[in-house]
């Protein structure tokens, strides 16, 4: 399972257009720059720099010990080439987080301008949390949100301003000991978002955050905590693009979500890391009675992604949905999927995964469906479809199903298909070039998930797919 071949990977694979648009970076102008490598001193320093409460310092130190003790996972993808001593664990671009766009430093602004962030905000954003390097530098919550009592801050600010709320939930859904990379994140986390939505409040517009990695060999370890109180609703959207670098980078985030009784949270991700990034993310949500949790997860880019958003349905009648798209090109491995855990009666879930492999890329679906004893009346439907664009590409499915209850309805379907010659001919016979025809078939293949994205992201997603497809045919 770990024989991933990286001998021929090409960071320019996504095409020159991509490079033109995203392959830029600002001069590395940092107020503080930690040394490479990981040890107790670095973690102490991070906590001290952030002026954190004692419990957080201890949490970090304990997590570091766990990280050192846990062996590197030998399943999923090949992690053995990560050189943990060759990574920066903390960087920050400016001294403190900013409130208004005007206050954001100019070179950082340039970067965001090229990513279209102010534009997006103008259009429909309720608030923007833009992560530059390891720290959120810009946060803006519209007045209406503030009046509703919604908290939308960087995780660092959240900890400073709402220490009790953070302490109550931080690390409760994903404890540091969950896995080696959750431990790493717990030790060195920086940035990410903290969101609290009070009971009954519906946040009408999606809250957005943009992430990117912008320093050679730096790790990015953001930490997000979302608490949706009873009967509330929020849609959080994260989009990631990364400039292109030559040495390996590590992105290891942790996202914890608590969906209280009758609340609903949707968490949408479009990530497009440069093809040298290890993207190892732990995302988990707890859904209480009659709550709904939805993960919409689009994974492009990266060298290796291992990500399995999970939903623990612990209250009666809770509902979970995981929709994911993965695209693996040359030298890339997307090991993605999802976990739905039914811990209460009458909980329901749907998992729909679509993967595309081209130019020898590899996608794996890895999913867990678990039903605890006593969780009667559970309904779950899992469907994963893979599309292979050439003979060299590969797709595997690893569905794990553990059901300890008789009265359940469970469906599991998987398909692997290739772009058919007849489909290509049909589209070409209407004037589309072979490349346009393949792109159209691929776009159609993921459309059921893309249509769930906010408009701007759907457009961006289709554009990214187009870029990925460029030069793949002929």
């Amino acid at each position: 399972m770990a024989e991933f071949d990286k001998s021929s990977f090409d960071i320019g694979a996504s095409g020159s257009l991509y490079k033109e648009k995203y392959g830029f970076y600002d001069p590395e102008k940092y107020v503080f720059k930690a040394k490479k490598g990981l040890n107790r001193e670095i973690v102490e320093e991070i906590s001290w720099m952030k002026n954190e409460p004692e419990w957080m310092r201890k949490f970090r130190m304990r997590a570091l010990e766990i990280f050192f003790k846990k062996p590197l996972p030998q399943w999923g993808g090949n992690l053995n080439d990560i050189d943990f001593d060759d990574i920066y664990y903390f960087l920050r671009a400016t001294d403190k987080a900013e409130r208004s766009w005007e206050e954001v430093p100019k070179d950082i602004k340039n970067t965001f301008d090229r990513l279209g962030i102010p534009e997006a905000e103008k259009k429909f954003l309720a608030g923007v949390g833009a992560q530059y390097e390891s720290e959120v530098v810009y946060h803006n919550i519209q007045e209406s949100l503030r009046k509703q009592g919604v908290i939308f801050l960087s995780m660092d600010q959240g900890l400073a301003e709402h220490p009790d709320l953070v302490k109550k939930y931080f690390g409760t859904i994903i404890p540091a000991a969950d896995n080696k990379f959750a431990a790493l994140n717990s030790a060195v986390w920086s940035g990410g978002s903290f969101i609290y939505v009070p009971p009954g409040i519906h946040v009408d517009m999606p809250l957005q955050a943009y992430f990117r990695i912008n320093a050679k060999n730096m790790g990015q370890f953001e930490r997000t905590l979302i608490i949706a109180d009873e009967g509330s609703y929020v849609h959080y959207v994260e989009g990631c693009t990364a400039p292109i670098y030559t040495s390996d980078s590590l992105h290891s985030a942790v996202v914890e979500i608590i969906v209280q009784k009758g609340a609903r949270v949707r968490y949408t991700t479009i990530q497009n890391w440069s093809t040298n990034v290890y993207n190892l993310v732990t995302k988990r949500a707890l859904a209480q009675e009659d709550a709904t949790m939805e993960w919409v997860d689009c994974n492009l880019g990266s060298k290796l992604t291992m990500k399995y958003p999970s939903i623990y349905m612990m209250g009666k009648g809770a509902h979970g949905e995981i929709l994911s798209v993965a695209f693996a090109g040359k030298g890339q491995h997307q090991d993605a999927g999802g976990k739905v855990v039914h811990g209460a009666p009458y909980t329901t879930s749907t998992v729909s995964s679509k993967s595309i492999s081209k130019d020898g890329g590899r996608t794996s679906y890895r999913g867990l469906l678990k039903v605890y004893p006593g969780a009667e009346g559970v309904k779950s439907n899992v469907r994963c479809d893979a599309l292979l664009l050439d003979e060299a590409s590969r797709s595997d499915t690893y569905p794990y199903i553990e059901v300890d209850e008789d009265n359940v309805t469970i469906g599991h379907e998987a398909s692997v298909s290739k772009i058919g010659e007849e489909q290509l001919f049909y589209l070409m016979s209407r004037g589309l070039t072979e490349a346009e025809a393949s792109t159209m078939i691929v776009s159609g293949f993921i459309e059921p998930i893309v249509k769930e994205l906010p408009m701007e992201f759907a457009v961006e997603m289709n554009r990214l797919i187009q870029l990925q497809m460029e030069g793949s045919v002929g």
């Binding site: 049909y426 016979s429 589309l432």
Partner: protein, 263 residues
């Protein structure tokens, strides 16, 4: 006179087997040629060959379109230059809406036409107007615009949408492969009227069918009968009536000298 499709001594192989064994045919703009013939005689093979399907290998002969050989052109180039094939079995493309697909195709075609100084890319409102007008003509419910191309369409719906594509793309040489099979009586009339509305001095039609019925609506100028990879006989509209009555068996006895070709 270069405004025509000219097929000369066409030999075609599919997977190493010769299917078309020397066809000659000329279709001029403004003309409708019906092609009939028994199952497996090579009608769809001819249609696919004209549209440039990679599996159909021309081993001898020539296909000229407006005086130029099409043989080196890929299917998309042929399409952009105005050759259109309405498929006997249209493919489903899940996730791609009829509207999105049609607009992409129309823009591809317009870009090609545009290089001669004509129209540019179609604007979305302009396209919507055109598409809805054509849907109306074919009595297709406007909701089809948002449906995924041929995905879950009934046999008749697929055929109607093929003609919708033709009506939007406005080709100069249309090959209709058994567009009438699968259509109910009303649909046959509606689709035929649609094709008739598109008929004109700028359009040549090759209409492949098994039945006289559609020829009552779309009056052909010529009828050709394909038997075992060769045209067994050619004639006027009356030939179709004869076939309806007598079937194909009598043709199999006709000597090679009596074989006609399209003029």
């Amino acid at each position: 006179m270069a405004d025509e499709l000219s097929i000369r001594n066409l030999h075609v192989q599919v997977e190493g087997k010769e299917i078309l064994k020397g066809l000659d045919l000329i279709v001029r703009h403004g003309e409708v040629h019906a092609i009939m013939g028994p199952n497996g005689s090579g009608k769809s093979t001819l249609a696919n060959t004209l549209a440039g399907h990679p599996k159909y290998v021309v081993t001898d002969g020539e296909i000229l379109y407006k005086g130029e050989s099409v043989l080196a052109w890929k299917p998309d180039e042929r399409a952009r230059r105005g050759i259109f094939l309405a498929f006997q079995y249209p493919m489903a493309i899940p996730g791609v809406t009829v509207a999105n697909f049609l607009r992409t195709a129309l823009n591809a075609r317009r870009k090609a036409v545009g290089s001669n100084g004509a129209a540019k890319a179609v604007s979305i409102p302009e396209f919507r107007k055109l598409m809805l007008q054509r849907m109306e003509m074919l009595k297709l419910d406007p909701t089809f615009a948002a449906r995924y191309l041929n995905d879950g369409f009934s046999g008749g719906e697929k055929k109607r949408v093929e003609i919708l594509q033709m009506a939007v793309l406005n080709p100069e040489m249309a090959i209709l492969d058994e567009t009438d099979s699968g259509l109910d009586i009303d649909a046959l009339r509606i689709v035929s009227e649609g094709v008739n509305a598109l008929r004109g001095p700028q359009l040549g039609v090759l209409l492949i069918t098994h039945y006289q019925r559609i020829l009552n609506y779309i009056k052909p100028d010529f009828v050709h009968v394909l038997v075992n990879g060769k045209f067994a006989i050619s004639g006027g509209p009356e030939l179709a009536l004869q076939l309806e009555e007598k079937g194909y068996d009598w043709l199999k006895e006709i000597s090679p000298e009596e074989m006609g070709t399209g003029k």
